[in-house]
Symmetry: C2
Subunit: 755 residues, 2 copies
């Protein structure tokens, strides 16, 4: 079968950039000065037994980050970013990830290298076996595994373009085996370009170990690295021989299980059984060293290069019988791995030829976007300083590797944890969703972003699937409840019928009728608001009687938001947001309208600019607080207090820039969950229950929160919100943080409490 | 206490037009030629024992319509309209309501007047007792009871303006007792104006009964009418004497229970216990005759007059001690009731004086809107032909009362049942909601319109409360499900992941990217649609490859509806809507795009006009089908078939005016529930279950509905709709009707099946 011909016939060839890919990245947890951590795997990461993203490998300190399978390099790096973020924020503050494949200095005593404390005894036994066979030190090496599957549409099309093989599974096996064999033959080029384990730290090699005497390109990919004993030989001739050989190795006691076969490439099936009728579904590349210059251990360009390289492995024909072809590859690879990183490789000409053939293939297949990575590979071949090991060893001339690694680790840690409330990789989503997603990943819930613009997530734990939108909309609430709450009149009707206190009001469905009704409200403090709008849009508060002009303007503003407008009595007093989940108040915030406090020197404008510098303040629901604007509404509010933006308030004088207290219009959030009399919490929870809601933000005016609820005057329910902001409770302006997103997850998956 | 002074101080006096009012209207069921019905109370009305709206009174034929308590005359008549509509449509087609207080000709044999067949034996025993004491014939008389409660804000304000009484309940009792005593004194004026029982039909009086010899104003309100024996005397001096007297009457065996006290006015409490500490909460006026000229037995003007009359009863001072005052009233009333309807009353001057005083009160209290009813009352006093009994007796000069009543009854029946799919009184709501409301009323579920513009209903059966929006959104669906379905991409992702077939597609979030993608779709049949729009808005179907111009136009139209647009493969074949409720397919409709069938004579334009004449076609979801438009889209569709609106299609030739089959764009609905292979129903129900929905309309393209589902080619899921139209299944263009609204109610209230 001549795959290069089949590939040239393929319409779907461009889909190669949508191959299914995933990464597993191992790292040692270390202290901030680069010593192996002595702590256990972080408890907050839940159970390692089923965690889909963050697990432990051989040792308790050896953390493994596993991305989901994705279709683009971009998505892969979003997940790497997110998983590293969660990992860093789940570790103790004085720990970081070691950025090298080679472990940091190891303890002198073997038993100080702790095996991973897995809950399942089989797992522990397996690690004890590995420690006995390979030694604990060898097992401390870390790598990056790259899972690669050709796009299904492409494989299906290639199958259709040929007639030799009449079984699709069989065709797939042929395709992946050819790719794997070629990879084994040509992988030395990857070792050359991406090798990144030139030297070992203290106590990696035992004194009697055979070991390289100078710096090399990749200890890990050489015979001194992490490999099976020499007697383990597995043929890649066919799937049958591959499995038969592995079985023989197990039967003869050379391997304990299939996964002990440390080949640089593994044939993988979606279902984890050894079955000679099974098909290869994807390949696992296991020979990538951790790239110390990259925050996530690998660069996007490396992955793009690997995708094209895998296509080339399918394209190019083998020149020898499979065993010879692979053995030749093994030999060259070992040679290249042990070359000095500062000298050109003996195989430079071959390498340049491969790159040239890859380039020609890309041209013949009309593939765009690979020029840069091909050029980089070429540069690496002509200038060793442009290989990773070359770059490393140049630096190691002035500092030792441990200092180099510690510095890089610290820098990674700083960048990854810079904005702690965000979830790296998904910062374009709303903050509430980012935080919920963070918590889900941390707890080991599988997350699938169903629609990014819609903030729609699919969560799965074991067999239970839950969908969540905006971090707060779930299957736990019934459909009708938000429809009721959307309608402020209906909400009030239901609440007051049940004996709760809500401000009296009138509803208008015509602007003219509302304008004509001015005399009814003249002389009274009122609030004008659209019936169904959100985030305080179109709301005007008149703490004193409005003038006809102001009233008319406010009515028009409200009608611009909704065709029904309410005019309600204004109830004086501070406004509190109660977040209720499953009949329990989880957090209470006092929301204070946008304001600045004078210092006697700065103008209002300057004070606003200073306050807006906070990393917590931003725009569009991507931060826990919102930047204060200086628009029309703010200027009018200033004017009503005889201020302008250029006034200089006295020291300690608080100036308000809005009348409404929404966080989205620059308000401050002050957590008072533990400072408010419990009777208000009871009242809020009861009101939410009366509305039938399960996840709800309910707003109460409370003149004096320290006095228990007595009569109707002691509180007034302003609004019930079916889409409450979650992030403001997680990161308030002042006061205690409340992780209400985690409460939502525990509500959806109560079994989390038992894990 | 001088109530006129208190009233003059009241700010809230205008609230009198928002008094809490309700009506109970009794009627005999009769055949279309005016004979007493021999059928049982309609079974479809469910259990009379708890039915809040439609019950039986004394006899099985004596139906009682009870409105809920409302705040405006307008609402009262909406409910009267709705309840009469449901009543008429629940009765056999050959029955109607007798429009008179006096019953139609009664059977000669007493036992042919069937007592109401109540399920509770106590109720049956009570009716047997009444039959024994008063005779079955007397009990066959029907009346209209008017429940009246002064607005709470007004009563509370009056209480605050006085200082004599320091207990609010006590004040309310004084207020209502004064009103009641005055009503008993002045009620003769109501008898004069509204009396409407001049003559009895055959067999009402027994031969030895004392009876009027000529026509009178109101037999029912005279001593020949429906009243207690003379020895039943109850004092209205105070609440204490009232209850004490009733208790004595019961103890002494003159009354069997409180409700046998047939006073023209009753003091009513919200809680039905005799408790001397209780307060009067409202008054029940029991002396109103059925007005034979009004469809619902009473006119809006009568109710408006009664509201003002009740206020006057509170305003005007009593001139004698209570017993004398009431006795004087009783005497005048009996006198007026027995006057000839064609002669002026002896009390005309007094009557005119009362009207004048009412007018002056209205002026002093600055009450608007009562001029007309006061003038009408004045006219009645000066011209007997303008009283109801006067009008009746004038007509009875040429036809007998039975013919008169039958003709009026037939006319009422015709008007009430004219548009059978509507619910009279609520025709401004969407049709799906009207039909659901109809069904709820019929089944005896209490309905409260929470928000009319929002199609939001509160339903209550016993202690269970359910809210329903649009007739299909309920607590049975979870919040997240419609949010998923709103997003067509997410829906498709979930369905295809679970193995269902849905057309392949691409999603665009930028118009330019979508426009640039034209080459990808060129040559293929496609559908362009907004991701989240509804009712087929912004959807364009290209059954053949689109031209660039048409493609661009369609993309722009779709982006006008939503910021995300899908381009999907077009799957050829007819489209079916499956309505799924609680995992079961309740109805399947074939929807055919707007079309006309030629007759060889009329133009397309004329054929459309003829088709649009159907009473089933209208606009804005108020009819089961939509009028066909002749706009841009229709003209383009015609053009693509080489037609214009002026073409004359051949006889039998079907011309399509749209490509999309939505009912809201003029399509025809053809029920095929029993004609479609059951495997499609299984597939539809499974897909809805997969999405987690409970009430859902799901659309499938099915090339051949008679062949069972075989492979993926045999169906394709186009869309899942979380707000499915219900009415189109209830009233399809062709085929079997399916009352899916009733299915929703039985889903919400499964106990309905046990009743």
């Amino acid at each position: 079968m001549i795959f290069s011909e089949l590939l040239q016939q393929a319409q779907n060839i461009a889909a190669i950039s949508h191959s299914r890919i995933g990464v597993e990245r191992e790292s040692q947890r270390v202290s901030l000065n680069g010593k192996l951590a002595v702590t256990n795997h972080p408890n907050v990461l839940g159970s390692r037994q089923f965690h889909p993203y963050i697990r432990t490998d051989f040792a308790e300190t050896q953390l493994e980050i596993v991305t989901p399978v994705v279709n683009t390099v971009n998505d892969l790096f979003r997940w790497l970013a997110a998983l590293h973020d969660v990992t860093y924020q789940s570790m103790p503050a004085n720990e970081m990830l070691w950025p090298l494949s080679m472990p940091p200095e190891l303890p002198i005593r073997d038993d100080e290298i702790k095996l991973a404390k897995l809950p399942d005894f089989q797992g522990v036994l397996y690690r004890r076996y590995l420690a006995r066979i390979y030694g604990r030190r060898k097992q401390m090496i870390s790598g990056l595994h790259f899972n690669f599957e050709f796009p299904t549409v492409l494989v299906e099309e290639l199958y259709q373009h040929q007639s030799e093989v009449t079984d699709f599974k069989c065709f797939k096996n042929i395709l992946y085996l050819k790719t794997a064999r070629n990879y084994l033959h040509y992988r030395w080029l990857i070792t050359y370009l991406f090798g990144a384990s030139p030297v070992a730290e203290s106590n990696y090699f035992e004194s009697n170990d055979e070991q390289p005497q100078t710096e090399v390109r990749s200890i890990r990919n050489s015979k001194f690295g992490y490999c099976n004993k020499n007697n383990v030989q597995v043929s890649f001739e066919s799937l049958q021989t591959y499995f038969a050989d592995i079985e023989t190795q197990i039967r003869e006691g050379h391997l304990i299980k299939e996964k002990e076969f440390y080949s640089p490439i593994r044939l993988r099936r979606s279902e984890q059984t050894i079955d000679q009728q099974a098909s290869v579904d994807y390949l696992e590349l296991r020979n990538i060293d951790i790239n110390p210059f990259e925050r996530y251990g690998v660069s996007e360009n490396q992955i793009v290069f690997l995708e094209l390289f895998m296509l080339f492995m399918l394209w190019t024909d083998e020149k020898e019988t499979s065993n010879d072809w692979i053995m030749a590859g093994d030999q060259i690879n070992n040679e290249v791995a042990l070359e000095s990183p500062l000298t050109p490789t003996r195989y430079r000409t071959n390498g340049l030829k491969i790159i040239d053939l890859m380039k020609r293939m890309a041209q013949q297949l009309d593939l765009k976007g690979y020029e840069r990575v091909l050029q980089q590979a070429k540069n690496g071949l002509t200038d060793v300083a442009k290989t990773i090991s070359g770059r490393m060893v140049k630096q190691l001339m002035t500092i030792n590797q441990s200092v180099f690694a510690t510095a890089n680790g610290l820098e990674n840690r700083k960048v990854i944890t810079q904005i702690p409330y965000q979830l790296n990789g998904f910062t374009n989503m709303e903050l509430s969703t980012q935080i919920l997603m963070f918590d889900a990943i941390q707890k080991g819930i599988t997350v699938d972003v169903i629609d990014e613009n819609d903030q729609l997530l699919k969560l799965q734990l074991s067999h239970q699937i839950e969908y969540v939108k905006n971090g707060n909309m779930t299957s736990r609430d019934s459909y009708i409840v938000p429809l009721i709450m959307k309608n402020k009149t209906a909400t009030k009707k239901i609440l007051t019928t049940s004996g709760f206190n809500a401000p009296a009001g009138v509803e208008f469905i015509s602007m003219n009728m509302a304008l004509a009704a001015y005399p009814r409200f003249m002389g009274n403090p009122i609030v004008i608001k659209p019936q169904s709008a959100n985030y305080g849009r179109g709301v005007t508060v008149f703490k004193l009687s409005p003038s006809l002009v102001d009233y008319s303007q406010a009515i028009r503003r409200a009608f611009a938001e909704c065709s029904t407008v309410l005019v309600e009595s204004f109830i004086a007093g501070p406004e509190y947001r109660f977040l209720v989940i499953d009949d329990k108040v989880k957090a209470v915030l006092l929301r204070i309208p946008a304001n600045v406090t004078g210092d006697g020197h700065h103008t209002v404008k300057q004070l606003v600019a200073i306050k807006n510098q906070s990393v917590l303040r931003g725009l569009n629901d991507r931060t826990p607080l919102t930047k204060i604007s200086l628009g029309m509404v703010e200027q009018m509010t200033l004017k009503s207090q005889q201020f302008t933006v250029d006034s200089i308030p006295m020291s300690g004088q608080r100036i308000y820039l809005r009348k409404n207290s929404n966080i989205s219009s620059g308000g401050d959030s002050v957590d008072v969950t533990d400072q408010i009399d419990f009777t208000y919490k009871e009242k809020a929870a009861a009101a939410v229950k009366c509305l039938g809601a399960k996840i709800c933000g309910i707003d109460l005016i409370i003149p004096d929160r320290s006095v228990p609820v007595s009569d109707h005057e002691s509180y007034s329910i302003i609004e019930a919100n079916y889409n409450p902001m979650m992030d403001m409770h997680c990161y308030p302006y002042k006061g205690q943080k409340h992780r209400v997103t985690a409460d939502v997850l525990e509500f959806l998956f109560p079994q989390l409490n038992d894990l």
